[in-house]
């Protein structure tokens, strides 16, 4: 299988100009997105790595797209900061570029929002080999077309990301996790909806079907006990406080609950949609961020069921057709034609 491994933006430009069909790849943690189709050359971006700029006081960093999330997080951690959208699969080697291209956020997205809330700027090589910048390196910026947001979930359709800038935040001084069993799905959904609407500043609010909620709090150690107590009162249950909460949540964000499932999918959800989703033949699964985001393990029948129900989803692993439904031709098709007129890149 043909593969090129650029180590500079210039080499990415050369590779794009040289090959008629390309499939960008980071660490390969979402193989449904990075496995080459017939006639495609793999553009392995793992050699384009490293932190280019990090100003802790600005809450901003810039890094090459092939940089592993973990590497960035270690640098951030040294200054008490983190990426609040909690990029998934970090423990398995996921890169910044792959995370953006797939458009993935993890369990802690509940508190401050998802990937799209934290990406500030991009430099990418479009389908004609031109190096293009969008956005900037400051937390507030409204100049020019926001190409960085176009990259979120793009699967590489408009260009090969070479450099990304993100906003970061201070990491909570302490965290606590409460696990509560609610008896049945209806009870769990009612509790979930109630918590979603209250100003509790939860770091994570997950539903593990059929009826368990896992709730993570972060803040000053002195305030956490009081907030935990209030949470228990709101729920009318004691629940169980997890001691190893850091290790537990690292497992969740690495999607270890999907281990053993042949196909891994991300499904945009809402609490109202959960009962219908629960009626489908899905495997192990977990609803993150108050029910807005489902990661599920399925077999081919489950995937057919999702498609049959017309529910949008993204396959991370285990199937060739990654995206359902395809993007709207009227808008997407034209932007695609502008940036990748020869169709060198994925999605069309």
């Amino acid at each position: 299988m043909a593969e090129v491994r650029p180590t500079s933006p210039l080499e990415v430009q050369e590779a794009v100009r040289l090959h008629p069909r390309l499939r960008p790849k980071g660490a390969g943690t979402k193989p449904a997105l990075s496995a080459p189709r017939e006639g495609e050359v793999v553009l392995d971006l793992s050699g384009l790595r490293g932190l280019l700029q990090y100003e802790p006081e600005e809450f901003v960093f810039t890094a090459y797209a092939g940089t592993p999330v973990k590497e960035v997080e270690e640098a951030l951690r040294a200054h008490g900061q983190y990426l609040p959208f909690h990029p998934p699969l970090a423990g398995r080697g996921a890169t910044l570029g792959g995370t953006v291209a797939a458009g993935l956020s993890g369990p802690m997205r509940e508190r401050f929002g998802g990937l799209r809330d934290f990406l500030l700027g991009v430099r990418f090589v479009d389908g004609e080999g031109r190096l293009v910048r969008g956005g900037g390196q400051v937390v507030k910026n409204a100049a020019g077309f926001p190409f960085h947001r176009l990259m979120v979930g793009s699967l590489g359709a408009f260009g090969i990301m070479v450099e990304l800038s993100f906003k970061v935040f201070p990491y909570p001084r302490a965290t606590r996790t409460l696990r509560v069993a609610l008896g049945n799905l209806a009870g769990a959904l009612a509790a979930l909806e109630r918590l979603r609407g209250l100003p509790l500043d939860l770091l994570a609010l997950d539903l593990i079907p059929p009826a368990t909620l896992e709730i993570r709090l972060g803040g000053f150690p002195e305030s956490l006990e009081g907030r935990l107590k209030r949470l228990r009162e709101l729920l009318g249950r004691e629940g169980e406080a997890l001691l190893e909460d850091e290790a537990h949540w690292e497992g969740v964000r690495d999607l270890s609950f999907l281990e053993g499932s042949p196909i891994w999918v991300k499904v945009p959800s809402t609490p109202a949609r959960i009962p219908a989703l629960e009626g489908l033949p899905l495997g192990p699964r977990r609803y993150l961020s108050g029910g807005e985001l489902l990661y599920a393990g399925v077999d081919p029948e489950g995937l057919r069921a999702l498609r049959g129900a017309g529910l949008p989803h993204l396959v991370l692993k285990g199937a060739e057709e990654a995206l359902f439904p395809p993007p709207p031709p009227a808008f997407f098709g034209k932007v695609k034609a502008a940036l990748d007129p020869r169709g060198r890149l994925p999605l069309g």
């Binding site: 997205r109 020019g144 926001p146 947001r149 979930g153 201070p170 991300k266 993007p327 997407f332």
Partner: protein, 467 residues
């Protein structure tokens, strides 16, 4: 039938304005130095009417500009000569407010603050709060990716728009995004936000709502210099706190605010407002740390709002500052640039120097948490040459922002006002990519023609190289 006759046939009588007196109010937005007479102004009340008007424009090659309340400070909704204005204020219905889903689906003419008002009984609100929020519309907020005082913590409009229904410049109606906080596939709704009406007109907007914070802690600190206040901001950040807002006003801005609303601010060179928000137990702990940081920062006087009324009084002065400056000077330009937070001191010093050099007063009000400067350049339009000098000074400030690693605009948009400065921030290839996207979606160049993209970016050599 000619274009105007066809246009009139699309609307009931009275909703296509063509008489001079009726057109006059639409000749400019809040950047009144620029004026253009449109061919006509139409007042749609339904999506279908907007779509039909856009299709008609496409067929006849007539340019169009969509506008809401016209609060743009960058000429973003300036009409195009010979084109039409789609005035969307009558499309002001909140179509759905679903507290359980925490979303609101609105028409583009809905005023920003109205969403929070309607959501308040459910304990929810719409977070982006530009200073114009009592009048500016969400369609405009979407076009400009508007910000406000709370962007550091909550981000700008783009993060709060989940879905859009849009009519493209060729008249196609598309849905971008959805109703969930999460999506799959390219974030096209996110991309549309901030394109200043160049890629189409938003017909319907789905917003995320947030639970209103439970507790606030609002602190006002006085300093002897901008540098000292700027350092205090850095110290707050270094302490690991994440305030909802941090705002700075200089002496001129304080005087103006006092004269306008009598906020009761202390007499000082500089005022810093810091507001913490969140669950009450958390805010209590944060407030202790903040008190310590502010004490160490050398504040000359510190006040803490003891009630909601006192909190509102602190904010009233800050929010009135822009319009209040009108009391100090017959005219002023509101500039809007961003610098990295750590370079605020440097930027302000240079602005002070430029103010001296140009012989024009500059008042400073800014979102210190984001490094978003709002220098107000005071001038007298009746004095010959003064407007030009003020514009030059404002331009120098923008160049300074880019030089320091910031941005041409934090929230006001590029519009017509700043498009000449785009090449300072973006390379020709960046601008070409924007041009190409614009051309692909709007081959006749009708949607908000003449905004954002500077003239003459297309370098023929580059064009040739890529065939």
């Amino acid at each position: 039938m000619g274009f105007l006759e066809e246009l009139k046939a699309l609307f009931p009588p009275g909703r296509v304005l063509t008489r001079e007196a009726a057109l006059a109010p639409y000749e400019s937005d809040a950047l009144t130095a620029y004026r253009r007479r449109p061919l006509a102004v139409v007042l749609p009340e339904r999506k279908k009417e907007v779509v039909e008007a856009v299709r008609l424009c496409h067929r006849h090659g007539v340019p169009f500009v969509a506008r809401g309340s016209g609060t743009s400070l960058s000429g973003g909704s300036l009409p195009v000569e010979g084109g039409i204005v789609l005035a969307l204020n009558r499309m002001n219905r909140i179509l759905r407010l679903d507290p359980r889903a925490k979303i609101a689906v609105v028409e583009p003419g809905v005023v920003n603050l109205e969403v929070s008002r309607q959501a308040a009984p459910y304990g929810l609100y719409y977070a982006p709060d530009p200073s114009s929020q009592p009048i500016s519309t969400l369609g405009g907020n979407v076009a400009f990716n508007s910000g406000g005082a709370h962007c550091l913590k909550y981000g700008m409009t783009a993060g709060h728009v989940l879905g859009l229904e849009v009519v493209t410049p060729t008249g196609e109606v598309v849905r971008l995004g959805g109703e969930s906080l999460e999506g799959v596939g390219p974030d096209l709704a996110g991309f549309f936000v901030g394109t200043e009406g160049l890629l189409g007109v938003a017909l319907e907007i789905t917003l995320r709502l947030l639970p209103r914070p439970e507790a606030y802690h609002t602190l006002l600190a006085a300093y002897g210099s901008l540098e000292a206040a700027g350092n205090a901001v850095s110290q707050v950040i270094r302490s690991g706190l994440l305030p909802g807002a941090m705002e700075i006003m200089d002496r001129l801005a304080i005087e103006a605010a006092e004269a306008a609303v009598g906020a009761g601010y202390p007499q000082a060179e500089v005022l810093l407002i810091v507001e913490l928000e969140g669950p009450k137990e958390e805010v209590e702990e944060e407030a202790k740390l903040l008190a310590q940081v502010i004490e160490e920062s050398g504040a000359l006087e510190v006040r803490i709002a003891q009630s909601e009324a006192e909190r509102q009084a602190i904010w009233k002065g800050r929010k009135a500052a822009f319009s209040a400056v009108g009391r100090l000077s017959p005219d002023y330009i509101v500039q809007d640039g961003v610098v990295p937070r750590s370079r605020l001191g440097e930027a302000l010093k240079e602005i002070g120097r430029l103010s001296q050099e140009y012989g024009l007063r500059v008042a400073n009000v800014f979102h210190a948490g984001d490094g978003n400067l709002h220098p107000l350049v005071l001038y007298d339009g009746k004095k010959p040459g003064e407007l030009e000098r003020a514009e030059e000074l404002a331009g120098e400030i923008l160049r300074l922002c880019v030089r320091l690693g910031g941005s041409l605009t934090g929230e006001h948009g590029i519009g017509v006002e700043k498009k000449a400065y785009m090449p300072e921030m973006f390379a020709p290839e960046d601008l070409l990519a924007m041009e190409r996207v614009k051309e692909a979606l709007d081959p006749r160049g009708l949607a908000n023609r003449g905004k954002v993209l500077p003239e003459g970016v297309v370098d023929p050599r580059l064009e040739g190289a890529h065939g």
